[in-house]
C-alpha cells in the first residue's frame, strides 16, 4: 500500500516523522530497488537531505510552511532544475547542466518540496514505453517483464515502487496517463496552458503540458494546485485564475452526466479493461449519475493527425540541438556542416531521428498542405467533436489504454504498433482538454488497468472529484 500525500503530511505535521527521515526512507527505497527498476537517471541525495533538514528546522521554529513543505518529489528529466543535469534521456544532453529553474520548479521550491532526483523517460519524450531512453532501461514495478509505459515511465515507476510519493511528468500525446495506467498510479494532463512550460524541454509545443503523478487523486489535485498558474515567461500559459482543484473532492455524483464514447468500443480493447469500464459505469449510475453515449467521429484520425503535428513541431524544436551552444559536439570534424550533421547523428537515437525525419518530410515543399496543414484541419474537427460531446455530458469516461502494460521489446521494431498504444490518450492532447488516469483494478495477469476521465477546458476540479470517487471504488475490497 503506497503512502498518500495526505497521510505523509499528517505525520510530518504531528511530528511522527521528520522530513529528513521521510527523504531518507525514499533514498533507502531507491537504493534498494532502483538498480532493478531503473526509474531514476540521477538521485540528488545529499542536496535532498540538506533541504529536508532546513525544512525540519523551520518547522520546529514554528515558521509558516508551504503546501508541500518537506515532501519529496521526483522530476522527469526534461524539466530544468538549476545546477543539475537535464538529459532528456539523450546522449545529446548527457552533460547538460541547467542554468535556470523551470517555473514549476520555482513554484515547488516556494512550496517547500524536496527534489529527490530526475527520472528516466523516452528520449526527448518520444515514445510510449521508456524503451527509447538512451541512458537506462526502466521496468514496470507492478509487472517486471513489462515496460512502465512512457514517456514519463521513470516518474510513474518511482511513485508505483514507493520511491517517491509524488512526481512530475510531461504529456504530448499521453505520456502521463499511459504510464500511470501501466504502473497503477494516478496521472493528470492539465488543460493546455494551465501549467507553464517554461523550462520544459520542448517537443510538440502546441501539445506539451507538465502534469502531476501521485498514488491517489487528492495528491494529484494538491500538486497541480502548486504548479498551476499564469507565467509571463510562457506566452501560452493561461491568464485566468486558478480554481481550487480539491473543491469537488467528496462531492456527490448525483445528477452528473458522464459520456461514454461509442468510437472507443473498438476491437483490440482488452476484455478486462472493458469490464473495468462496465464496473465504473455501474458504480456511477448507482450513485445517481447519468451515463450517456456520445460520439467522437474523428477518433480514428487522431493518431495520424497527432504524428503529423507532433513530429512537425519536434523537427523544428529539435533544430536547436546542433553542437553549438549546449549539446555534445562531435569529435574530429572538419567544418561547420560536419559539426551539425555529426553532432546530431551521434547525439540522437533512432526514434528521435525517425520523428525528425517525418516532421521534416511533412513540412517540406509539396507536402506541407497535404500533411501538416490538413492535419491541423483534422485537429479542428477533433476539437469540434469534443465541443459537441460536452453539450451532452459533463465529463467523458474512457479506457486510458487499449491493453495493460506490454512486454519489454514487444513493440520496439514496429513504430506504428507502438504509436497505437496512445489511441485513447492522444485526442485530449489534440483538443487541449484536461484528462486524468486512475487505477481501476488489475487484469488476469495481475497488471494494473487504468481508466480516464476527460473534461472541458479548465474542468480539472470536477474531473478530479469524480476520479477520486472511482479510484476509491476500485481500491475498496469488492
Amino acid at each position: 500500500m503506497l503512502s498518500t500525500l495526505g497521510s505523509i503530511r499528517e505525520k510530518l505535521g504531528s511530528g511522527e516523522i521528520s522530513s529528513e527521515e521521510l527523504v531518507q526512507n525514499c533514498l533507502n527505497t531507491i537504493q534498494g530497488q532502483d538498480e532493478k527498476i531503473g526509474a531514476f537517471l540521477q538521485v540528488h541525495g545529499e542536496k535532498a537531505l540538506e533541504s529536508a533538514r532546513e525544512i525540519d528546522r523551520r518547522r520546529q521554529q514554528g515558521e509558516a510552511m508551504g503546501a508541500l513543505a518537506g515532501i519529496p518529489i521526483a522530476i522527469k528529466d526534461n524539466i530544468n532544475i538549476e545546477g543539475f543535469h537535464t538529459t532528456c534521456a539523450s546522449r545529446m544532453l548527457e552533460n547538460f547542466i541547467s542554468p535556470y529553474d523551470a517555473t514549476v520548479i520555482q513554484k515547488l521550491k516556494a512550496a517547500g518540496a524536496i527534489f529527490l532526483g530526475k527520472t528516466n523517460m523516452d528520449e526527448f519524450a518520444m515514445g510510449s514505453s521508456t524503451e527509447h531512453s538512451a541512458l537506462r532501461k526502466t521496468v514496470n514495478p507492478c509487472a517486471p517483464s513489462c515496460v512502465p509505459g512512457g514517456s514519463s515511465g521513470g516518474s510513474t515507476a518511482a511513485v508505483a515502487a514507493g520511491m517517491a510519493p509524488l512526481a512530475l511528468g510531461s504529456s504530448t500525446g499521453g505520456s502521463i496517463r499511459q504510464p500511470a495506467a501501466f504502473c497503477g498510479v494516478v496521472g493528470l494532463k492539465p488543460t493546455y496552458g494551465r501549467v507553464s512550460r517554461y523550462g520544459l524541454v520542448a517537443f510538440g509545443s502546441s501539445l506539451d503540458q507538465i502534469g502531476p503523478i501521485a498514488s491517489d487523486v487528492p495528491g494529484c489535485a494538491e500538486l497541480l494546485q502548486v504548479i498551476a498558474g499564469h507565467d509571463p515567461f510562457d506566452s501560452t500559459s493561461a491568464p485566468n485564475p486558478v480554481e481550487d482543484f480539491s473543491a469537488w473532492l467528496g462531492q456527490p455524483l448525483k445528477g452528473l452526466r458522464i459520456g461514454l464514447v461509442s468510437e472507443f468500443e473498438t476491437e483490440g480493447l482488452q476484455p478486462e479493461i472493458q469490464a473495468a469500464l462496465t464496473r465504473a459505469t455501474a458504480f456511477l449510475k448507482a450513485q445517481g449519475a447519468e451515463c450517456v453515449t456520445i460520439q467522437l467521429p474523428h477518433t480514428e484520425y487522431a493518431i495520424p493527425t497527432y504524428y503529423l503535428i507532433a513530429t512537425a513541431e519536434a523537427s523544428s524544436n529539435l533544430a536547436r540541438f546542433d553542437g553549438v551552444r549546449y549539446t555534445k559536439r562531435a569529435e574530429g570534424i572538419r567544418n561547420l556542416q560536419e559539426m551539425y550533421t555529426q553532432s546530431r547523428n551521434q547525439g540522437f537515437g533512432m526514434e528521435v531521428k525517425r520523428r525528425i525525419l517525418l516532421g521534416t518530410y511533412c513540412l517540406s515543399s509539396g507536402y506541407y498542405e497535404g500533411y501538416y496543414l490538413n492535419a491541423q484541419r483534422v485537429r479542428t474537427k477533433i476539437i469540434e467533436d469534443y465541443q459537441q460531446a460536452f453539450q451532452k455530458c459533463d465529463l467523458i469516461l474512457a479506457p486510458t489504454t487499449p491493453t495493460s502494460a506490454f512486454e519489454i521489446g514487444e513493440k520496439t521494431q514496429d513504430p506504428v504498433a507502438m504509436y497505437l498504444s496512445d489511441i485513447f490518450t492522444v485526442p485530449a492532447n489534440l483538443a487541449g482538454i484536461p484528462a486524468i488516469s486512475f487505477p481501476s483494478g488489475k487484469d488476469q495477469k495481475n497488471r494494473p488497468i487504468g481508466l480516464q476521465l476527460m473534461a472541458p477546458f479548465f474542468g480539472e476540479a470536477k474531473m478530479l472529484g469524480v476520479a477520486d470517487h472511482l479510484h476509491r471504488h476500485f481500491a475498496a475490497p469488492s
Binding site: Y307, R377, V378, K381
Partner: protein, 100 residues
C-alpha cells in the same frame, strides 16, 4: 499524396534535417518510414475543404508586453554548456574545410 520512399528520399530529407544515416540503417529506415507514412496517409480520406486549420488551442490572443530589459542570467552562465567558447562567445569550427 505520398511518393514512393526510397533510400534516396530518406537521404534527401535527412540532409534537410542535418542528419545522416549509415548504409546499414537505411533499409530499416526506408521500410519503417514507408509504414508510418502509409498510416498517416489516412487523413486524406477526409474532405477538409473550408475547414480552418488549428495551430494553437490557446483561446486567447498572443499577449504582448513592454520590451524592457530584464536580465535572467549572465554571459558566463549562458556559456556553461558550450562545447567551445572564447571571450564570452560560442566558438564554432571554420565554415570552410580545415586542411590536413
Amino acid at each position: 499524396m505520398s511518393t514512393e520512399i526510397t533510400r534516396d528520399t530518406v537521404r534527401h530529407y535527412a540532409k534537410l534535417a542535418q542528419l545522416s544515416f549509415e548504409e546499414h540503417e537505411l533499409d530499416t529506415f526506408v521500410s519503417q518510414f514507408s509504414a508510418i507514412l502509409n498510416y498517416v496517409e489516412k487523413i486524406s480520406e477526409l474532405d477538409l475543404s473550408g475547414i480552418e486549420a488549428t495551430a494553437q488551442v490557446f483561446p486567447w490572443d498572443t499577449p504582448f508586453r513592454e520590451d524592457e530589459i530584464a536580465p535572467r542570467f549572465d554571459q558566463d552562465k549562458a556559456l556553461i554548456n558550450a562545447p567551445d567558447a572564447e571571450s564570452g562567445h560560442f566558438l564554432v569550427p571554420k565554415v570552410i574545410d580545415v586542411k590536413g
